[in-house]
Each structure stands twice: as C-alpha cells, then as structure tokens.
Symmetry: C2
Subunit: 450 residues, 2 copies
C-alpha cells in the first residue's frame, strides 16, 4: 500500500496546480485523474473554446480587414481543421502538465477514485483506484463540475449537445440554437455565428451573462451582430428540427439542426457520499482556508460551487496547499478576474456598480468608450463598441471593480486584479505608467475621469 502526504483527486486546474505546489514544497503527492490531465478546462472547456474562437477571430478579420487595405478572396472555414489544431493544442498542454508533475515528483494514476471511508486510519485516508489502495495524510477533492441538462422535453435527442459534446462536431451546423445565454452559451454563439452559422440564443433572464455589469452585457449583445438573442424566453420543448420557447405567453419555434444546452454546471459529487462531507446548496462546503468539515480533507474548484473559474480553482489549490504546509492563507474572491472570449471580449474584476451599491458602498464610478483610446481606434475604428468602467469606494478611494468590453481585454484585466489585490488607491494608480499606445491605457484614463 502506497502512502502519500497528499492525494489530489482530479487533475483539472485546481488539482494539478495543487499537486504541483505541494510537490514543489517537498510533499509526496499522488494525483488521481479519471480521464485526462488538465480536466475539463484543458480538454473540454477553456482551451478548446479559445482555440476555436481564435480561429473564428481570424476568419472575421480576414473578411473585415479591407477597410485598412487588406484584401482576400473566397473565405472558407473548415471546422475539421480547426478541431485538429484544437486537439494538437490540448495534447501539447497535457504533455506540459505531465512534465510539471514529473518535475515535482508527483505520481499520477488514471482511474476513478473510490473512498471506502472518510475516517483516516493510522496510515491516513484510504483511496482506491482500480482495486489498488493508496493512503494520504491529506486529501484534496478537485473533482470539478459537469453540464446541467434540464428535463425539457426533447433534451435527450441526439442533436441536443452539451458544451463538451459540441466540441466533438466535425461539420458546422446550419442552424444552431443555444439554450442559456451565460458565458459558455455566448462564447459558442460568438464562435459559430462568426464562421457563418445562423445562431439564436434563448435566455430566460432579461439580459445575458448575469455576472457582467448590465451595461456591458448590453454592449456585448449589440456587438454580436450576427446572433439573434431571445431574452426573457423560456424553452418549452425541443424536437428533431426545432426549439420552441415561450416569451410573455407567446410561443415561437426556431429551426435547429444542433441545439446547445448551456444553462449551467453542477459539481461532481457522485462517489463522495461515503465521506460524510457537509454540502451547501452549491457543492462541498469549505471555509476560507479550503477546509471541509472533515479535518484533512480539502476541496477546491468547481466542486465547491464557488467561483466556477479555472483560475479560481488554481488559487484555491494554492491556498489549500499553503495551509497544509505550515502557511496561513485565505481564499479571497474580491479580486478574481474573469473574461469572456467572445468577439469582442469582455472582462471584469471585482464588483459591478450595482453590486457595490447593493453592498452599501459609497460608490463613485467613471466610464469611457474604448474608441477614446488611440490604439483601439487605430485597430478597431470609430464604429466599434466597447467601454471601460471603474467602480471606486468614495470613502477610501480603493478600487472595487473594473469592467471592460472591447479589444483584448482578457489580457489587460490582470492589471485590475493587481490594483484590487494590492489595495492601491486612486492617486497611486494615477502615477502608474501604462505604455502608449496600448488599449490598457483606457484603465488609467478612466480612473483619471473619476
């Protein structure tokens, strides 16, 4: 029986980073993964979608670049080739993770982890994979999440796909209906609409992407010109060739040869029942140090139901490992950035203005259109939408949130996360120099406008 300091279950961005950090700290670590290194993020989520969206971006650019003198004929998008590139990317990243595990002496076992008991024996917690028993002094559960498929009539038809299944297509659909206008739904809508597919998004709420500033969600929706959005619309049924929804009592049927079901994700807690873990409404209940109710068992990432983002999972993994190796860290959610990789991108960090007001802050805010920025204007032109918005606590001059739509804001939002995490005040940020011309200057310029 192999004995480890730490057994990590799940090799997604929560699990493999935790294993890496613990290995780097000198711990003897076992990483158990039932499918593939990198988890959903690398294999069926963040990475494949970004790979496809990059291809779509170049396809659109090639079509729209005549305005600055760049001309091409006969645009053709071949999904099967984009998918091949995507697979090559995934393989490269899996190899990278395998290398990191080796570098930090993390043992990797593939298979389904079973937990015969939550009680540690003298040799630690038992975990069984394919009949082989391992023991760990500490356990990190990083089992992730899976798509939630609501029991709408027709949900089990073969052309109704989850976000994972749709990544297996080799040919473009003709008409795609996306059920659910959250991040996953709008990213796929952006991809397919930009490569020529007719796309409808049906969303039950009155606006897409609930975590976004409502104004920026509207900007995104308007900029996604090729997509038809149906808001405040409840899907009632799906059949072989159509999706029927109800909006204010009126029924509409949309033709669809593929339907994407993207209404949310649920934590993977099957098989953990025997551990006696406390759950809350969303997943495994953890404290701010990532401890579950059972001493020695930690949970990180989507399975906790908190902040379902790859980088949140990674940070949770780091916090858990820090706390089990003599450190004392807490998981802070106030400076978690997020990005939506639509065309155009949207990104944010911290509170929206509405959230800040709801929490009782004395809010000061400023917003600027992206096209006030030199580089943005040079690259996207005066007709392009987009905005930067900064939300500040007027009592302390601390940044509460920064929200952007337009350009490559996913690459700029790291600066915003730094402002919030480092608790910089407005005057301090005014003195930071951003390079000119860069779209990132819009953050500083908006702060000067407060």
């Amino acid at each position: 029986m192999d004995k480890f300091d730490l057994i990590v279950v799940g090799a997604g961005p929560g699990g493999y980073i935790a294993a890496e950090r613990a290995g780097a700290a000198g711990k003897k670590v076992l990483l158990i993964e039932k499918e593939a290194l990198g988890g959903i993020c690398t294999n069926h989520g963040c990475i494949p979608t970004k790979s496809l969206l990059n291809a779509a971006k170049h396809f659109v650019h090639g079509i729209e670049s005549a305005k600055y003198g760049v001309h091409f004929d006969n645009p053709v998008f071949k999904l099967s080739e984009a998918m091949a590139w995507k697979r090559e990317t995934i393989t490269g990243l899996q190899k990278g993770i395998a290398f990191l595990m080796k570098q930090h002496k993390v043992e990797v076992v593939f298979g389904q982890a079973e937990f015969p008991s939550g009680r540690p024996g003298a040799e630690g917690f038992p975990v069984i994979v394919d009949g082989v028993e391992y023991r760990g002094d500490d356990i990190i559960l990083a089992t992730g999440s899976k798509p939630f498929v609501p029991p709408i009539p027709g949900h089990d038809l073969p052309h109704v796909l989850t976000s994972r299944q749709i990544l297996g297509l080799e040919e473009l659909p003709k008409k795609l209906v996306v059920i659910g206008g959250g991040v996953i739904g709008v990213e796929f809508a952006s991809f397919f609409s930009n490569v020529g597919v007719e796309v409808h998004v049906v969303e039950m709420m009155d606006e897409i992407c609930p975590m976004m500033d409502r104004g920026l969600a509207g900007v995104l929706r308007k900029e996604m010109k090729a997509v038809k959005f149906h808001l405040g619309a409840r899907v009632e049924s799906i059949d072989d060739s159509s999706v029927t929804f109800d909006k204010n009592g009126e029924k509409t049927s949309l033709e669809a040869d593929v339907v994407l079901m993207s209404v949310g994700r649920r934590p993977n807690i099957e098989g953990l029942e025997g551990l006696g873990l406390d759950m809350d409404g969303r997943g495994i209940k953890v404290d701010e140090k990532m401890r579950t109710n059972i001493p020695g068992i930690w949970a990180v990432g989507d399975v906790t139901g908190e902040s379902l983002l790859a980088h949140s999972a990674s940070r949770m993994g780091e916090v858990a490992v820090a706390n089990m190796t003599g450190g004392n860290q807490i998981m802070r959610y106030n400076a978690v950035p997020w990005a939506v990789y639509t065309i155009p991108e949207v990104a944010g960090c911290g509170l929206t203005e509405a959230e800040a007001k709801e929490k009782g802050f004395n809010v000061k805010s400023a917003a600027m259109p992206m096209k006030a920025n030199g580089r943005f204007l040079a690259e996207y032109g005066k007709k392009a939408g987009g905005q930067c918005k900064v939300v500040v606590d007027a009592d302390t001059d601390l940044i509460l949130g920064i929200h952007m739509a337009g350009g490559l804001c996913s690459e700029m939002i790291g600066a915003a996360a730094t402002f919030i995490e480092a608790e910089l005040r407005v005057q301090e940020i005014k003195e930071i120099i951003f390079p000119h011309p860069s779209v990132s200057e819009i953050i500083k310029d908006t702060i000067w406008n407060l």
Copy 2:
C-alpha cells in the same frame, strides 16, 4: 496681452496631457502647437505606425491561418488604403484632444512659439506666436524631438526618408534598406516585410534594440524571419539604387529603392536659445520634479532627452503640473514600460538582468517560453517563439524588471509596471489571480518559477 497661469509649448503627449491636467486643476492654460494636436506621436509616430502594423498583422494572419482551418485566396495589400485608414485614425484622435482641451478650458493657439526673454516680467514669461504676445506665470516646454540624419554620403537623396517621411508613401517599395535597428527601425522593418517588401536592416551594434534584454532581442530578430539583418555593420554611402556598408572590413552593397534612416532622435531646442536654459548632453536639463534651471520654466518629454517615450512624456507633464499646483511628485523611471509593436511584439518594464547585475543587485531571475502558456499555444502554436523573463532583487524579493516577447505583450506589461511601482514582493504577486486562459498568466507562472 493675454495672461495665463501656464503656457505649454508643444501639443504632443507631454504637452497636451500637461495642459489637460492643469486645466482640470483649475489653471488658466494656453497650449501652443506649431503643427497639429497630438504632436509626433499622434501624427507621425506611435499612432500611424500602430495603425499600419495592425493592418500588416491581419495580412499575415490571413495568409498563415490555414493551419487552424481558416482559408483565403489572393492576398492583396493596398498601402494607399492602409494610409487612408491611418489618416482617419489620426483625425479622430486630433478631434479627441481638441475636445479634451475645450472640456478643460485650455486655449489652443497654432504657430511657432518665440521666446524674447527668459526673464519673467511682472506679468510672467513672455511668449510670442505670430506677433501676438502671451504671458504665463509658468512655462512647460514640451517641444519634442526630430529624427537625426547622420551625414552619410547620399543621406540627402530623395529616396532616403526619415520615419516621418516614410509614412507619406502611397506605394510599397520593392526593396527597403533600414539604417538603424532600434525600435523605430525594427517596427518599420516588421511592417514592410510582412506586407511583401524585401527588407534589410543595417545596424552598427552587435544586436538590435539596445534597451531590450539581449536574449529577447535575439528572439525578436529570429522571429522576424522575412527580414535580413546585418549587425556590426557601418553604412558608408547611399546612392540612387543601393546602400553600401562595411562589416569587419568587407564591403557589401544592398539594392534599395527606398532607404529609411532611423538611427536616433534629437531634442527640438531650436528657438529656445534665448531662454538661458542649462542643457546636458541629451537635451534640456531637468531635475526629478521636471524643473529647469530657470524657476517657472519646466521641460517634459523628448526635449529633456530622458526616456524618449510618449507615456514618459505624459507622466513628466503630470509631475510638472502636480508640482506647480501645490503637489510634490517626482518622476520615477524605474517602472516605465515600453513596447515594440513588431510581429511578434516585445515589451518590458524595469531593469534587464544585465542592467540589474551592473547596478550591483543580488539578482535572481527566471524565464519561461511563451508556448508553455495555454492561450499562447492555442493561438500561436508550438513553433512560435517568445519568452517571459522576470528579474528580482534576491535581497528584498522586489521585482526589478519583467521582459516579454510574443503575443500581445504590449497589453500585459501594464501589470508589470504596477508590480514595480507598487513595490509588490514575489509572494504578494503569487497571490494575485490572473484570468485563465490568458497569455498574461505567463508573468505569474514565471514568478512561481523563481
């Protein structure tokens, strides 16, 4: 005779930002500009080159994107259309600056400023434009710089152009020789080579771009595959159709129908002689508060010969205005980012490893290839070069410098400037969350590798 609190001479990024900040602070401000709002940066520098490089990037992308399923035929680049787009961008930005001046009640006068005397009368310093006299309690000189043309035989032939003149071309040259492999030279080399021009760069030093980490300069040079670099080569003469250089005693002639002379820039100090300003070897001598030797006269931007970058000029303008309006700020150069907008981009902030060692720091450093990053791999593939390098003071764990090549690093370097300016330590940066997948994560990952 109009009397102002502040007269700003030069409406580039040093001058117009100074005028804006002073106007916002309630000062009565006159801005004098001899040509066009925005100065060289907006009209003949940063903005037009970025506009052209963006077009070139899309041209290359359209040609190279077949690898992920995006196909086009018949690529054609029309320089005249790219130049028209560039002009539209410039016009838009000029209007933006004019709006800002109006918003902050800054009066704008076009014409050449003359200085009859450096001595303030009871009514302040006299400045004359087109025979009209204005007076200012304070003067900010922000007169910028111009290209330096060395007296190489043939330098005055009509096809030998400065960076400003080459932006007036309406047709692509067939063979371009760039004299000088600094930032301006390599950006133009990148642009023209990517749209199909045969380009040679002749550089006297042993490597291009002296401010770059030597390793990253080499990465950039290798990634600019279509350009032929001649290093350690001294141009001896230019004639109607060729450029002749000497390398280790051996002469080579390169055919050229256009020659770009980009060996450096010199401060614009003509007409300032009467003021009695102290100069140093580079330009107007200023202290860290941007004061010249004459109380009430300040100088900012390229004319000081310090940090010839648009954003440095803007920050100098802010510092000068803060100090003349009751504040107490100093100009810090340790956290000035820079970016080279070649394909691929290079960006940096702070000291290179070699500079840090030379200054006597106890240096710790780490570097990672860009392709270790998920998004970079998804978008650029495993053959793409690029690197992130972090330089730390091992005694304090403060960041001394961050240097990157590859991807859109110009948009990420703002985070590095923030780390340095806010004096964050390694452990603090490890706890900052960057969005996944973003290329900006490479900064954090490299810091974890220290």
